[in-house]
Symmetry: C2
Subunit: 339 residues, 2 copies
Amino acid sequence: AQPIRIALIPGDGVGGEVLAEALPCLEWARNRGRALETVTFPYGADHYLATGETLPDSAFTDLRDHFDAILFGAVGDPRVPDGRHAEEILLRLRRDLELTVNFRPCPPFLSVARTVDIEVFRENTEGSYCLQGSTEVGRAVDLSVHTEPAVRRLLQAAFARAASLGRPLTLAHKANVLKHGHGLWMRVFEELRAAHPEVNARGMHADALLCALVQDPTPFGLIAADNYLGDLISDLCAAFIGGMGVAPSISFAPHRPHRCAVLAEPVHGSAPDIAGQGLANPVGMLLSTALLFRYLGWEPEAAALETAVSDALAAGAKTRDLGGTLSTAAMGRAIRERF
Amino acid sequence: AQPIRIALIPGDGVGGEVLAEALPCLEWARNRGRALETVTFPYGADHYLATGETLPDSAFTDLRDHFDAILFGAVGDPRVPDGRHAEEILLRLRRDLELTVNFRPCPPFLSVARTVDIEVFRENTEGSYCLQGSTEVGRAVDLSVHTEPAVRRLLQAAFARAASLGRPLTLAHKANVLKHGHGLWMRVFEELRAAHPEVNARGMHADALLCALVQDPTPFGLIAADNYLGDLISDLCAAFIGGMGVAPSISFAPHRPHRCAVLAEPVHGSAPDIAGQGLANPVGMLLSTALLFRYLGWEPEAAALETAVSDALAAGAKTRDLGGTLSTAAMGRAIRERF
Ligand SMILES: CC(C)[C@H](C(=O)O)[C@@H](O)C(=O)O
Ligand SMILES: CC(C)[C@H](C(=O)O)[C@@H](O)C(=O)O
């Protein structure tokens, strides 16, 4: 069989530090007989500042047509205050690879207080992330664009998962204000709800949902949301599992429009304030790698990696953000030695 | 002196039940020598369904030109699924009276776990609440419109308050995505920050802010946000003080374009599921009434009402939502008997 081709994009700040901890896990999977090869791409702030290039079109088409997956660190750098490179690298990959579904689970084994088991399904390509708008003197407008195919793909993925797990599904919306966009979401949601009587599904105003989540996250199962609300809700939920450093995510194109239909990245950003000091938590990155293994059909490796993370944390291995003292590399080792 | 003219709009659902508990407080203020008179307006779902009228223009101009303040219950009714009347009553009043600043404090005495002392300054008239957009086949667009005068008024109010209290101010934004609108917010924020070196002010990405708030709300002081984020963040923060039933709010026009420049309303909605059963918590409404007293310069009455609420809660007087057994009316009495 052809090897799975995985593109590595470390990006900025702590991106490279946490991605470095994933590499031995890929090596381990290869040693267990998984055919894979990797190529590292240099795109990020350093490359942009040195060359003026964000993500060249030739690199984009190479990624799109000659790779199966992307493992992504993080982008964002204070030397690029308008975030142009983040937009043209990460947001472009999500959009132009049509990675509609951003799956952001809060695994129960990470729970810090009450046991949560929430999975956020975030639409990943449009809404407020269409980056359309205008600035005139004293007046600024942003557009939020929602299209039925993307909304339907996201909700279908969420309903399918809710049905297979037998868990409740909540749609976050503010249709009483965002009449058009969230009106479309409600219409497709109601249609799928009628088609899936086995799923306990309901819509909830996003404001009331945030209050209810903070008061008690335990009754929630799956949460579906548009791009902006999904961004906010998934970060909020990260607080239930120890913060941004541990939260994993994977984005995929259920309709597989291109060879490259999946990108795994931690929920956290490039964290420039702690970059280069070995302070970053690699758990979010490693759990995202496990999600990629599962996506590729490598369930034993996915489960082994998740168990190793869970066991390491249970044994007290912790980075600074979790109140421990381990460096990024030491935490990575503490996890891998449990394979 | 001319009496203060207060318009009462009970609205829908529990709106009338909670507003009923505020009336004896107005009466009490009058008995203490505060010159006030009230007029009740019938606008809400019942009136709309019976007459087709939401808020007639004649009533709007009457409110605008012949009243000093509005005390509002809540609007929203499942019999008006598109929420048209809520839009044409509440959102119109906020917008056309130019009530830019929606002040939503989380008073420390309401704290349920850790002691919080957060005040949300929500822009109240524009952003995603401009209600502009379009729906075509399979494609829906909402606009978010921000203008410099409103952004500046909101931020000026927040900076002035932060300066007078000596407390930190955080601007919630997502300027890395909402380039235009939040770009404008950042520009005005940086300008005011330079003009107020005495205020410890910083911007924070809204997603990271939600995570940080849930992990530990105690370091936060004032939070300024646009209309949509302010809606979400104020409801999230209500979870720190016992939920939506107790959270107060007051909206005002710092530039006083009209005689009527203030509207007080609880943060909660009309709660149709519990309406008419005496289950609603009047605390949010009564604390909003206290905010109105303070706005009118009636500080002793404001403080007395807040102390009465605080003492009643401390003595164990609680409605269902707080784990108690008192009805709306019994809770109102338990508070008033402490005047
Ligand atoms: C870096 C930023 C553009 C990104 C987003 O808003 O999607 C991040 O917050 C995330 O959640 O992956
Ligand atoms: C009822 C609704 C339109 C309103 C809003 O979104 O502003 C409410 O949630 C609030 O916060 O006052």
